[in-house]
Symmetry: C2
Subunit: 362 residues, 2 copies
């Protein structure tokens, strides 16, 4: 593949792979009668959002009211804000309600009353279930709190119970398809039990590993996965995807090569990659996996990685077989965590040279 | 201090402390007859740049040609780009030369000839010296390469040798003022030796720890430190500054409090903080130090920290004495690494409520 000689680091998007990833998840959800409300925090691009729209997706998930506004401006009017509501957000929620119907995560009854008093249009809420991963949410054992919130939703004018949401971050510890399926099992059972207790509840889950590899979603009403749009090196190591499913690549100029030391300084540091890493088998950190793309845009894994990052510098080390690459003008890596890497750019460049704009920052 | 109830996370700037930090470094450099060319990658703000200008600073240091353009647009015309030059940058270098005189980091003779052929105006170059920290630069033992580059600079029409630069990242491993002074000693000796060998060379160094604590800079022609404008929790732990020198704070809404578990979920994740951390004495990671600001805007360290981050979630844990703070609408932290945190925002809010815009991303 011919790539440009870059003036700065850039994110390369294989739009064919990206569209295939979207299509596959849409079809899987459709076959399972599960509504796909994909999380758009990964790509944060109106243009990529439209690719979902072309495959029939109607509703989306975002992290913040500001991100919801960005997509509402492009016509999305069915939006879940998948982060615990807090009161400072109320004015932007009102503004969003002018054009979109919203679903919020609410975790206490007081906030239900607060919102009911503030809003003039109806809003729906999820109760987020904490499966023990201890990010946000409520333990399913807090039955009286859950009952009280659902009851309040029945009685209040503007605020109505929608269902239960869970993000099982434990699947990210897996290292195989089998591991993912085993690690999600207890969460699936937990959600099935919630559905038995509250049959009116919509059951919603969202981690990309289980959404990618579970053979069926019959227990799910909604899927909110997002990372599958690009995948990344972490998802590949987890077992969520094949190499050919990865749609996002990081092109980094080689700024200084030390071929005798099997290393180079790339322009690609923490402000380009983020500082997320995976641990390789030998226990060392990997901040970006060295690859090459062949003429068919297939990925070849090379023996090299970003072993450390400073603000602008990426310290690339390579094995003997890959040292010729140090003399190139640039190298190509797979981002460790595409959500955090994409968050640091204002556009993608497709393999055909098209610029795809995205939202910047929060 | 009265703070706003935020709609989203925000960066609070104590502009008085920031201006004091600038003034102190300007005066220290002046007393040492050392030219301060501060690194502007930390604040990335034209407005804060003007505060330096008011104290008489004429030249600056940046990381990239794009960052140089941003500051050149505000009138800066004496700019060092402190990252190894690569050929993809040549067109933007030409554009920058229309309004600014530049100094680049160049590490091989071929690039000197390439630049000489491409440019129509003179440019100066540093040879970056690697003291063994193995980021970028050339070992001082590569005498023939260094000589050849200096000789080339004497003969070429547009490209002239300016001096030696070193960033000694090893000072970041220190945990006391004494430790910083000891760890910089061998680098200072190395640079003194370079000056003896090449008396025409300007000697330039830039790490904030040594710039902050060394009693004198008599060996230095130029200082390019940057982080001192704000400092941060890492610099405080290193021993570079006192608590009262820290000018940047991170305000995070509390999204869900678990007072019985001494923890809360804050809106403040990897996309707000970056994933840089320091290790606390017990070996656990600290992604943001919990503090409070009193009525005089003095910092009180509280027994709490962000112990982990996901994309949007900050997982705050607190000791018994600080658990009341979990019931507030927001908490205040000191960023671990202010350069990376500031890079994730498009503005600062001063304690007086003034909005100070900054550059976003690269």
């Amino acid at each position: 593949m011919q790539l440009p000689n870059p003036e700065r680091p850039l994110l390369l998007l294989d739009s064919n792979v990206c569209k295939d990833n979207i299509k596959r998840m849409v079809e899987k959800c459709r076959e399972n009668s599960c509504l796909l409300r994909p999380h758009f925090k990964t790509h944060q691009s109106q243009q990529i959002g439209r690719w979902f729209s072309e495959y029939g997706v109607k509703g989306i998930t975002v992290s913040t009211p500001a991100m919801a506004l960005y997509f509402a401006e492009d016509g999305w009017n069915d939006i879940t804000i998948a982060f615990p509501f807090y009161r400072g957000q109320i004015n932007v929620i009102k503004k969003l309600q002018e054009n979109a119907s919203l679903r919020l995560f609410i975790h206490n009854e007081n906030d239900l009353h607060f919102i009911n008093n503030e809003l003039e249009k109806p809003i729906r809420f999820y109760i987020e279930i904490d499966n023990g991963y201890h990010r946000s949410g409520i333990s399913p054992s807090c039955r009286s709190e859950i009952e009280a919130m659902i009851d309040a939703g029945d009685k209040l004018r503007h605020v109505h119970f929608h269902g239960f949401y869970m993000h099982d971050g434990r699947t990210y510890q897996s290292r195989s398809r089998k591991g993912i399926i085993e690690s999600i099992e207890s969460s699936v059972e937990m959600m099935k039990e919630m559905k038995n207790l509250y049959p009116e509840a919509n059951i919603s889950m969202g981690d990309t590993p289980s959404a990618s590899v579970l053979p069926s979603f019959e227990y799910l009403d909604e899927c909110t996965a997002g990372n599958f749009v690009f995948y990344d090196w972490m998802q590949y190591k987890i077992g969520s995807c094949s190499l050919d499913d990865i749609a996002l690549f990081h092109l980094m100029p080689v700024a200084q090569a030390f071929p005798n030391e099997n290393r180079a300084i790339c322009h690609g540091g923490a402000v380009h990659c983020s500082k997320d890493y995976v641990l390789d088998d030998d226990g060392s950190k990997n901040f970006g996996q060295l690859i090459s793309l062949d003429n068919q845009n297939s990925v070849n894994i090379l023996d090299g990685k970003l072993q450390s990052l400073s603000q602008e510098h990426g310290m690339l080390t390579v094995g003997e077989k890959s040292k010729n690459i140090l003399m190139n003008d640039y190298v190509c890596t797979i981002p460790i965590h595409s959500c955090l890497t994409a968050n640091l750019y204002d556009h993608y460049r497709t393999l055909n040279g098209e610029i795809i704009k995205k939202r910047i920052l929060s």
